[in-house]
Amino acid sequence: MEWLNAVVQGIMLGGLFALFATGLSLAFGVMRFVNLAHGDLAILGAFVAVSVTSALGLNPFVSLVIVVPVMLAAGYGLQLGAFNFTVGADPLPSILVTFGLGVVIQNALLQTYSADSRGLDVGSIEVESIAITDAIAVGWIPLITLAVAITVLLGLQLMLSRTALGRAFRAVSDDPATARLMGINDRNLYAVAMGIAFATVAIAGVFLGIRQSFGPTDGPAQLLYAFEAVVIGGLGSVWGTLIGGLLLGVAHGIGGQVEVSYGYGSGPLLGHLVFLAVLATKPAGLLGRRTE
């Protein structure tokens, strides 16, 4: 029964991973841009929420109303002011800029907030859960996180397939030169995509902070999980990202249970190994259409 519980809790954790992966996947899909600061930005979002909640006395859920627009604007501005200069055939400059940015964010957070662990307190709902059987209970917070992840991914999918903005995203993704000829301002569109990516990763960061304690150096681990979810699911597939996140979450759940039962291993280790196994056997991912 504890193993079944590990799987159920893993699925819930997977919702969070999928939420982390959304922005990474979107930026790569639209402009082949890999943001190595993605995880650190999530942690930055969580710390902004810490400051907002303590300054204004807001519930962390309500603080999203401030955190998300702030991060959206930051993503838009950063893409226009910096990242756009590195978009191109050579991936080196974009990797270097975002890697440098991540290290700067981490150390700036250490300077500002110290190395102490923080948490975002949303009140009694944190400990409430729905009992499914005697041994398995699902917490409200993980359930809400999963629901938010699915909503965000569904919204993204609808935006990409149904709206004019989504069409423009797909057009620049397929052929930026021709899209420009059709009157699309690709640079501005990249900034919009990065703004959305920052907004989703800020949501992910705040939910991470509500779910567990976090510190300034936790960003890279979140980047790696997000990346693994994207690759496991398959590049260029929105639903693949969800499946990848859930599978990775289950691996973390089982790995954690292995550690509890046998004293060896850990959730992250099993998660990494599952990712490497998928990479070895299905490099295009489970639902992927192409390798890149």
Partner: protein
Amino acid sequence: MTGHRVTRSDRQSTFGLAVSAVLLVVLVLLPWWDGDGSLRVPLVPILYYLALAQMWNLLAGFAGLVSIGQQMFVGIGVYTLLSFAEDFGVDPYLSVLLAGVVAAVLSLPVAALAFRLRGGYFAIGTWVIAEVFRLIALESGFLGGANVRTLTRESLGGYSVDTRNTVTYLMALGLAAGATAILVFVLRSRLGLALRSIRDNQEGARGLGVSVTRAKLVVWVISASWTGMTGAVILLHNPSTRAESAFSVLRWTALVVFIAIIGGVGSTTGPIIGVAIYWGVREFLEDADEWRFIILGLIAAAMAITAPRGVYGLLQKRWAVQFFPVRRRLVGPGIGGPAPGGQSQPAPDAGSTAR
């Protein structure tokens, strides 16, 4: 059409080689007049950072393999030395060579997985694999788990402190100078030509019969092995370690990347300039680790946007300097020749065409 030939040497590079040779001789002889080790010991980190930066530069600047997982090979080197010297009683200095062998062997399965990814995803992929090695080191009771492990006096084989300081210093010097020499030799070889053709146009290179995967794999193994040996020397310099610091991405990849970018990635001289700048920043901000990362990170990120070839690239744009003879150019009647007065075309180092 008489008198034209392709050359790589010119007066500047001859001068550069002469300066390097003199500098190297001075550095090799340093232990003989540095009695108390006050010069040798602080130079070791500068030298091993140069070795690490050159090896990352070889991957990222010449083979298009932007690795964020170099800490895995440093960590492998550290733990190989610990195991052989501490647990099996092998001579510690022989163990440095074994660290290179172990890192080279382990780099092969890593390549089999990581080479399936491209560009930015290759970068994160190598980072994931480095994490796997760190977590395995943490789990392994044999390697010491989460505990601090120290290279003890017994396993250092009864060498005196002075001898140890000198040998560690000379090994670090050998790794730094050797890394630079490897770059120069690789660039002058057929492999170097293959790498530059891949960097400029991978499909085109493949069409001309360049074995892309083989060229990348050779460079990958060289870099892994040299980085592993450097990791072992890092442990000789600072004999206490644990998995968190042996596999630290900030120390063994982030700083290294910053040094290479600021100095100039894709050139043989750039990382030398970068390491000198790093030394300056370190002296200036002695006890402020976080500020060091913030400042170097900001400079590196800004340079990646505005001056992707670093300080060396900026110098070259202005004066067309070359320090090591790796760039091919045509000389002869009517052609500029060895750039008198710096009027020649500013060409990127190592004969690359448009990137």
